[in-house]
């Protein structure tokens, strides 16, 4: 049925099948086969793949605003981090009195700072559904306010990119501060349970990977549906000729806002899935460098195709894992070089390269 939905779109079908395979096979093999078997995937592999999939979801969210709406957001990492913090706050409250200081209510870092009571914005995060709601609401609200102000003032192009970068940098500085109440420099870590299940156990890790895979597949299908509605066509038209769309009677700022908020929520979800799998969230996720990296993932994969973003995110991150293992100091140079080469030689990314090749064969 899903494949039927993707009719006439071979590439999307393949990506979907690959994702389904990864989501189902790896966790199951991890659980069934024991170490030493050829089919065994280690816990390390499971969490690594899980991380890649959250990055793929993040890249997908950027492709929606950048590839389809033409808004080059250099602060997409901020929404990812906010979603991550919302999840992190839930996981912190799950620790309960098992922290180093054994306080039943306050997380360790608050006891350490000699705080007497829980700040108001931490209340409610012990309830899982509320925390999940915040995973979407907080990034969405930030995107709404930011988008409302900038799109209405018709800030576009490089100016918007720079402002979005400033936004994530400002959040980075704010979250570094202990007084903010988010654990400052160290962020939130030492998580124990999720929904009462031990985060370190193989089964929970396997299920987290499955959830991530399902979230990515759902995000992919929903995004793909959106870009094929009339709204998607208006958004594409805005990317190509913004002022012309206005003269057709469309409120361009509302469309941009819609896509931007949706994309921020998707990024927030990615962040929320990322945190329990890597076990920590700290302010470095807000750093502009991370947001720039997301742009490189999408550029490498090929923007404006959705599945390209997924492929790009996975390939670049795999490269990063390999490279930082072999030559840790040259990774950033490699990343920069990749970005320059991609921009010059394959402006449509790997997807563009593939399309050109298949067209030549026809």
């Amino acid at each position: 049925m899903l494949l039927k939905f993707l009719e006439n779109d071979k590439e999307s079908q393949w990506v979907l099948i690959a994702l389904l395979a990864v989501t189902l096979i790896i966790p199951v093999c991890n659980l069934i086969f024991s170490a030493g078997s050829v089919f065994y995937f280690s816990a390390y592999t499971v969490s690594l793949i899980g991380k890649y999939l959250t990055f793929a979801l993040l890249a997908l969210s950027l492709d929606l605003v950048w590839g389809y709406c033409g808004i080059l957001v250099l602060g997409q990492g901020a929404f990812f981090a906010l979603g991550g913090y919302a999840m992190g706050m839930y996981l912190m409250r799950q620790i309960g009195d098992r922290g180093v200081y054994g306080d039943p209510l306050l997380p360790d870092f608050m006891v350490f700072l000699d705080w007497k009571e829980l700040p108001w914005f931490w209340s409610g995060f012990d309830v899982f559904p509320f925390a999940m709601l915040m995973v979407f609401v907080v990034p969405g609200a930030l995107a709404f306010v930011f988008g409302w102000l900038t799109f209405r003032s018709r800030v576009t192009g490089v100016y918007l990119s720079i402002i979005s970068q400033a936004m994530t940098y400002a959040l980075l500085l704010a979250f570094f501060r202990n007084e903010m109440g988010f654990g400052g420099n160290n962020g939130l870590t030492d998580f124990k349970d999720i929904l009462g299940f031990n985060l370190q156990s193989d089964v929970v890790r396997a299920i987290l990977l499955m959830c991530t895979g399902m979230a990515l597949i759902t995000g992919f299908l929903v995004s793909r549906w959106i870009v094929r509605t009339r709204l998607g066509r208006v958004v594409t038209a805005i990317r190509d000729q913004e002022s012309r769309v206005r003269f057709l009677g469309y409120r361009v700022e509302m469309y941009k806002l819609w896509v931007f908020v949706f994309s921020a929520m998707l990024a927030g979800l990615a962040g929320a899935l990322y945190v329990p799998q890597v076990g920590i969230i700290n302010p470095s996720e807000f750093s502009p460098l991370i947001s720039l990296e997301i742009v490189v993932w999408v550029a490498v994969g090929g923007r404006g195709s959705l599945y390209g973003a997924i492929i790009g995110a996975i390939i670049v991150n795999y490269g990063k894992t390999v490279m930082t293992g072999l030559f840790p100091e040259v990774w950033l140079f490699t990343l920069g070089a990749v970005f320059i080469l991609v921009t010059i030689f394959m402006p449509d990314g790997l997807v563009g390269l593939w399309k050109r090749k298949t067209q030549e064969n026809v």
Binding site: I226, T229, R230, L231, R233, V234, T236, A237, D240, Q241, S243, R244, V245, R246, F247, L248, G249, Y250, R251, V252, M254, Y255, L257, W258
Partner: protein, 277 residues
């Protein structure tokens, strides 16, 4: 209708006007005086250069009006003012008796029924011809509504009808980017038609067209009068002559003269403006 303009604080629709700078006019178009567009004493200046200088212009309902004038006479600026792209420094612009266009932004003006074709053909090159028309169609233009919008059979027929009129039915599934210059011009005219506007502002419709295409364009524009008011800006005098009943000549940002093509062409001031001292 109570006029609260003098007491803005008492008008709850006005006190937060900074939040809602550009309301869509809910007033009905009133053309009881036969005039659909009023421009009175409109002035626009860019860095001291007066693009429009106390210009006054009235367009009748259903009329086909041609605007001519040398480069820099203010023709495009005039269209920018009507469609909300440029705010005049002074003067007033009304759509019918009641709708104040200076209070509205571009989308509101377009939704009210004033549509524009640009000098440079600006179709959406990454969408198909059909999709270009679909987006231009008169419909609800809110984001949530377009997310779930589907075409009714009636709307499909309307698009096909317009494709027929502009003569590119065979290209309906092609990307607009591959069309020839003339075909893009036609597609853009189609995008105007499908909006069913009350007023069409058409900037240089025949630039880059072949003779045959020009003749067909003239025919099309002539067939529109009565149903729509059409304002055409064009440099091609032969074309203007073939369609115009009434011609307005602009010069240095104001109206130099108005009349039939013959009257205008024999006006010594017009000759002077075009041929120089």
């Amino acid at each position: 209708m109570i006029n609260n303009a003098k007491e803005p604080v008492l008008n709850r629709y006005q006190s937060f006007s900074f939040m809602n700078r550009t309301p869509v006019s809910d007033k009905k178009l009133d053309v009881s005086h036969k005039t659909v567009l009023y421009m009175e004493d409109v002035s626009v200046s860019f860095d001291g250069f007066k693009a429009l200088n106390n210009l006054s212009l009235y367009i009748d309902d259903g009329e086909l009006r041609c605007l001519i004038g040398p480069n820099g006479a203010g023709k495009t600026t005039l269209m920018d003012v009507i469609t909300g792209k440029t705010r005049p420094d002074s003067g007033s612009v009304y759509f019918g008796q009641s709708i104040d266009l200076l209070q509205m932004d571009e989308p509101a003006i377009a939704q009210a029924g004033i549509c524009r074709k640009f000098q440079k053909p600006s179709v959406f090159e990454n969408l198909t011809v059909f999709e270009n028309l679909e987006l231009s169609m008169k419909a609800h233009k809110g984001a949530w509504i377009t997310l779930f919008a589907t075409l009714t059979g009636e709307q499909r027929d309307r698009i096909d009808e317009v494709l027929e009129i502009i003569g590119i039915t065979s290209l309906r599934g092609q990307l607009a980017g591959i069309l020839s210059h003339g075909q893009k011009q036609w597609l853009e005219i189609g995008m105007l038609l499908i909006q069913e506007p009350r007023v069409m502002l058409v900037d240089e419709p025949v630039a880059g067209m072949t003779h045959q295409e020009i003749d067909r364009t003239a025919e099309l524009l002539l067939s529109l009068q009565g149903k729509h008011s059409v304002v055409v800006v064009e440099h091609d005098m032969e074309f203007v002559r073939s369609i115009a009943k009434k011609v307005t000549v602009l010069h240095e940002g104001s109206v130099l003269t108005e009349g039939t093509m013959d009257e205008v062409q024999n006006d010594p001031r017009v000759i002077q403006v075009y041929l120089g001292e």
